[in-house]
Subunit: 310 residues, 2 copies
């Protein structure tokens, strides 16, 4: 294990891949490994890409990674969007665009299927980010799906959150407007050439004009891209860098990371507890009998919950 | 308290309103009250309306309630959509359409603001459903927002789940297609007169054709309505009744409720635990110090989580 940690810290790709597999499979050795490398984390700039399925997040990340590689950055990609071509829902064109990165030693790509790690997906994803960070990747692109599944909403743990939309993402704009979706740091409208893009951008700007002021006076840029051709990617790269620079200069980065880490600790503690309860429900007949009493309307759910815990 | 429970079970509106306030305010007496009336629950048919903000869920519910009142049903409405006119984000026209119901003793309307009950919102909502059920309301319409906020996704605890969309709800259709949104029992496309409605309905049917078979062979109807004028509401009423009849005849209702109650018990136990942790974090300096160690990269989040719990 010490050897695996050592190789991981030296940036060995295979050690990183193996460490992530331990985390993903819930291997008992994973916890010790993450604990051992944790003091060496915090160096990576993590950008979270969120947005509805089909908005082109993966293609956008692929194009951004190409630019970042041209600048010599070492990059890791973690995809936990079940609809992503990184993680399984590929269309052929996307696979081809990604293929170049799969062969590039300077890019480490890992995907996690929602199905594989039910309940512990967010947990495994956050641990994986730490491993990628410890392995010396300067930049991590995190892809998550931002509609309807709170469980995988780990994009909020990134330093910079990019919301990717397309004309037709009416629901997301309504969700922003209603305050039920977190306001991101950067908004990208992908499919620049779409006839309704200009109108859609104006609609988003209108909604943002009503939003509360951002930390440090940050003005949320609304960019347009055409991910497949790479048009607009320089602007996206610049916007992410500008947000990062603002976080660095204002002290906002420390504050944001502290808040995220506090949330992560609480989420992990809560997930442990939930898993322990599920395990006891499976194995202990008196627990199953408690649920039967609830179903028979003899014991109310809150009293049953207290009985399970107490 | 015995007296409040007694009056609630007799269907007294003011007793119901008071009981819900106890639940919402986290009053210590609330738990005993819900426990006392729980054996008298299970009689109400609960329909959950979910979907993006702005799809017209509230107007649709108002129109449906009008129909159900004409049939003599006793109805309760619980809105936990922060963008809903029931719960605060009103536009004038909606308020006027709802006003008739506020004056009708046969309809009980209650809204919960997301802000008011942070963390415990889903919990308070589920408890409130039990109180409404115990008070003898035959039908409960539950309104939640179905985009981006897992916390308030309690519509899944209803007997029948109705997804309300509009042309332009592209994100929701993509989420259904990608399997990141639960498949509902009934889909309503509101704004029947919109020029793109027919196309949108065909798109939804195309996605549903790829979905796995539903319990009991249920075929998910895709209806169109114009909630503001009431057009199509009879079809919605009939579809909800048909789904309910199918659940009753197949034994699916018991199975679904057992699953929902098991989930509710686990969610309540987990929420209790989380709240306890938050409380200790606020009050205990050693807890706060643990978070500081994490922020300083000396203690990893998973070890910190174990320390908090253990």
């Amino acid at each position: 294990m010490d050897d695996l940690a050592k190789r991981l810290l030296e940036g060995d790709r295979r050690a990183l891949a193996r460490a992530i597999s331990l985390v993903e499979n819930g291997d008992p050795a994973a916890a010790g490994l993450v604990a051992a490398v944790y003091p060496h984390t915090g160096g990576a700039a993590v950008t979270g890409f969120t947005g509805p399925p089909g908005a082109g997040k993966s293609t956008l990340i692929a194009a951004l990674v190409r630019r970042r590689r041209e600048q010599g950055a070492s990059v890791a990609v973690l995809a936990i969007d079940p609809s992503s071509p990184f993680s399984g829902g590929a269309v052929l064109g996307d696979r081809i665009r990604l293929a170049e990165h799969f062969l590039d030693g300077g890019v480490f790509i890992r995907s996690m299927a929602a199905r594989g790690a039910l309940g512990g997906l967010a947990e495994a994803a956050l641990q994986t980010l730490l491993l990628m960070d410890a392995s010396g990747r300067a930049e991590i692109e995190l892809e998550t799906v931002g509609v309807g599944q709170g469980e995988v909403d780990v994009a909020g743990h990134a330093d910079t959150v990019v919301l990717v939309l397309v004309p037709g993402s009416g629901d997301s704009v309504q969700a922003l407007k209603a305050g039920v979706m977190e306001i991101p740091d950067v908004i990208v409208v992908n499919k620049r050439e779409h006839p309704l893009t200009d109108l859609f951008v104006r609609e988003i700007r209108g909604v943002l004009a009503l939003a509360p002021a951002q930390e440090g006076g940050w003005q949320i840029p609304v960019l347009t891209t055409e991910a497949a051709s790479g048009d607009g990617i320089e602007d996206l790269e610049a916007a992410i860098a500008a947000h990062r620079a603002q976080l660095d200069s204002s002290g906002g980065l420390d504050e944001r990371r502290r808040r995220n880490l506090r949330e992560e600790v609480l989420a992990l503690a809560t997930a442990n507890h939930r898993r322990e309860l599920e395990r006891r429900l499976e194995g202990d007949p008196s627990f199953a009998a408690t649920i039967e009493e609830v179903a028979a309307r003899r014991l109310d759910p809150a009293s049953a919950a207290r009985r399970l815990v107490g």
